[in-house]
Symmetry: C2
């Protein structure tokens, strides 16, 4: 698994280059064992919790990971080095043709003092898929996971100190085609890099000095703009899904909405909200309680790690006889299917809507309080006023895993020694 | 027209900043009159015509244009400076969220010794539209046209010498969001730049040393992948339309095809080919000769400058009684409508297919010799063997304008004094 490099070998062999010569070129897969570390000589200052600096979402840690890929060598030796600027040609592929993909992850300082990633294998696997979708090279995802751990071993202890249990950093792995290439073809040179930045609690906080905001997000259902399409790339975490969505986001914000709820087709099929997955809890006309979200099969929505975790936990714990049930949180049916705004509208009218929430790494689990659909605002029940009971319960379960209140295989501990 | 800058002013006013203070900030539109020029101290060598260097499509000229935009100031003063690398933050918006757009243009050295752009107003207007589509700032397109002319006044005389009439350079204006921004919102800092590179004759040439290729492009009709969709951004020249298409391109090339013919929907509607517009000439069942291409109204295809010029020339010159008609090139009906591969297949079976060609800046006018649709290859008539008569005629008309064989308002002369 080293992407185009393989094709290059075939190409060389077809063109008469001897197998011995090709072997000498040594097309390499990503290999974390070759990592070298160069520590910064000008270490930065860790920002205050929930400060303006953290809310800027651009306060970096001291270091970053860099790995070059070239079509003749494959993946070069990875480095951890001081955080710094990238230099590239004005005709770098990634600046013109969106040959770029990324991941969003967090690293957590547990209440037990441990540093954890949450299901990093999911992110690493998805980055391989996203990379291939935009003609960038593939790699062994396990090696990326090792690099993530090595990076956090370096920057974690300082930037997520043990004195701050229950906090996190946002980690951004990315792959960009930085080869010079105006011709429309796969880049011949690629850079993988990983940075970490401070990140606020978008699921419930507000920036310092900002007026307090009532709980719950208000969504504006998209009108003409469509985020993704069957046969497109909505399922991949590629830059091409984001920039073109910003105009709708900005229009929504001007109208007083927090996120766009992306619809598809003449039936107003519900897909994603903002850059998060979307869930609704309702009662069917027959009175059955359901947790519903869009399915993955049409490849229109992102296979969110939080989305998958919500579904798995709900299927395991929100079942009849479970010890987790309460008077507010009852057992329900978990359903992945295409559903529409017309169904949500009808459920609201008939008093069958229970709650709604977004899931994702950036927004974690955030309740939805209203949806504007065709210029009518649909109110969504908000449980105790701060959000629905299912959102609160699922959020708590996930936090318990992330912050080590419970030991769970999804919480992957980073060795800091 | 200076994009978000306007919103920033409103924002400042709403937040109690006095109008005088806002005026002091001076939100600027793009202004070519503020241009400063710094000439290179290490001028490069002009490559040989049709050399390997030119076929690399990355041999730059000596200089480039750079213009910064920030959300507090608007467009800063433009510069022409030595061609060089870009430096940006690892969390620059354009690397993660495809906040990027570009144009493709050529500058021509005429047989009359003059340097010309071809309809640059069309490219400048389109770049404004593309920029807005991915939440980047707008600008007065006339100012961009002035910058293009100023740039070519500096680099044109050396890189397209008068001793090489009938040659051209490829010009690449681009706008990228280079502000640091992991949050999903419009970039707060943006860079416009313009570079020029050597470009081979893709419409008929082959790289040095390559086996000669039979004339005409072979197209592979896309199967599952869809390039663009209604409500998307297929009409804008944004990076997001390119990278996700590379995988199909590469698969096509492996199968021996030059370009992908992008289809849409269950009826196999024909949209674009590769990164070019697609034309077919056929006879209707009633025997009427037609030049057909996909329409712009669904905003799925790019409004190509060459496409528009082909349609305008055909509507003006391919009419009954025109002096341009010959025994091979007859008057025809020009039709912009949705049409499908099923129609092309039927026309081929019934012997009604006359010819087909691509149009675009990169490939100019290039005949199509075959289309693979659902694993069957449809042969397209190729006129005298080198391509259809309409393609050849339209190409000649356009070249006459580009290279000054005829004086025409579409050929915009650059003052080299």
């Amino acid at each position: 698994m080293n992407g185009h490099a393989v094709e290059t070998v075939e190409h060389l062999l077809q063109n008469g280059v001897s197998a011995t010569k090709v072997h000498e070129l040594e097309i390499h897969d990503l290999d974390a064992s070759k990592l070298t570390v160069t520590l910064t000589k000008s270490p930065g200052k860790v920002p205050e919790l929930d400060s303006k600096e953290v809310w800027s979402m651009k306060s970096n840690t001291d270091h970053m990971v860099r790995v070059t890929w070239t079509d003749d060598v494959g993946w070069h030796a990875p480095t951890i080095e001081p955080y710094g600027q990238l230099t590239m040609s004005p005709i770098a592929s990634c600046l013109h043709y969106a040959t770029q993909c990324f991941e969003g992850m967090k690293v957590y300082r547990g209440f037990d003092g441990k540093l954890r990633l949450f299901r990093p294998d999911k992110n690493c696997n998805r980055l391989v898929m996203s990379s291939a979708r935009v003609a960038l090279p593939t790699f062994d995802p396990k090696e990326l996971e090792k690099l993530l751990k090595a990076f956090m071993k370096v920057d974690g202890p300082k930037w997520l100190p043990k004195s701050r249990p229950g906090t996190f950093l946002y980690i951004r792995p990315a792959i960009i085609g930085n080869g010079e290439q105006i011709g429309v073809t796969a880049p011949s040179e690629v850079l993988m890099f990983i940075v970490a930045v401070g990140w606020p609690d978008l699921s419930s906080g507000t920036p310092p000095g900002a007026a307090p905001k009532p709980p719950g997000l208000k969504l504006l259902a998209s009108k003409s703009d469509v985020r993704a399409w069957p046969g497109g790339f909505g399922y991949a975490k590629v830059g091409a899904n984001y920039g073109p969505a910003f105009v709708s986001h900005m229009e929504g914000r001007k109208m007083g909405y927090d996120q766009i709820l992306w619809l598809l087709g003449s039936e107003y099929q519900v897909t994603e909200a903002g850059a998060s997955n979307f869930f609704v809890v309702w009662k069917t006309k027959k009175g059955k309680l359901q947790l519903v979200t869009a399915p993955l099969d049409a490849k229109v929505i992102l296979e969110g790690v939080t989305r998958g975790s919500v579904l798995e936990l709900a299927r395991e714990r929100l079942v009849s006889g479970s010890k987790y049930l309460t008077s507010e949180v009852k057992d329900l049916e978990v359903v992945e299917r295409n559903f529409t705004m017309l169904e949500i509208e009808e459920a609201a009218k008939e008093g069958r809507l229970v709650e709604s929430f977004l899931s994702g790494t950036a927004y974690f689990i955030t309740p939805v309080s209203a949806i504007n659909f065709r210029d009518q605002e649909i109110d969504i029940p908000m449980g105790d006023g701060t959000g629905g009971y299912y959102a609160a319960t699922l959020k708590k379960w996930l936090k318990d895993i992330m912050y080590g209140n419970v030991q769970h295989e999804w919480g992957v501990i980073i060795d800091e020694e």
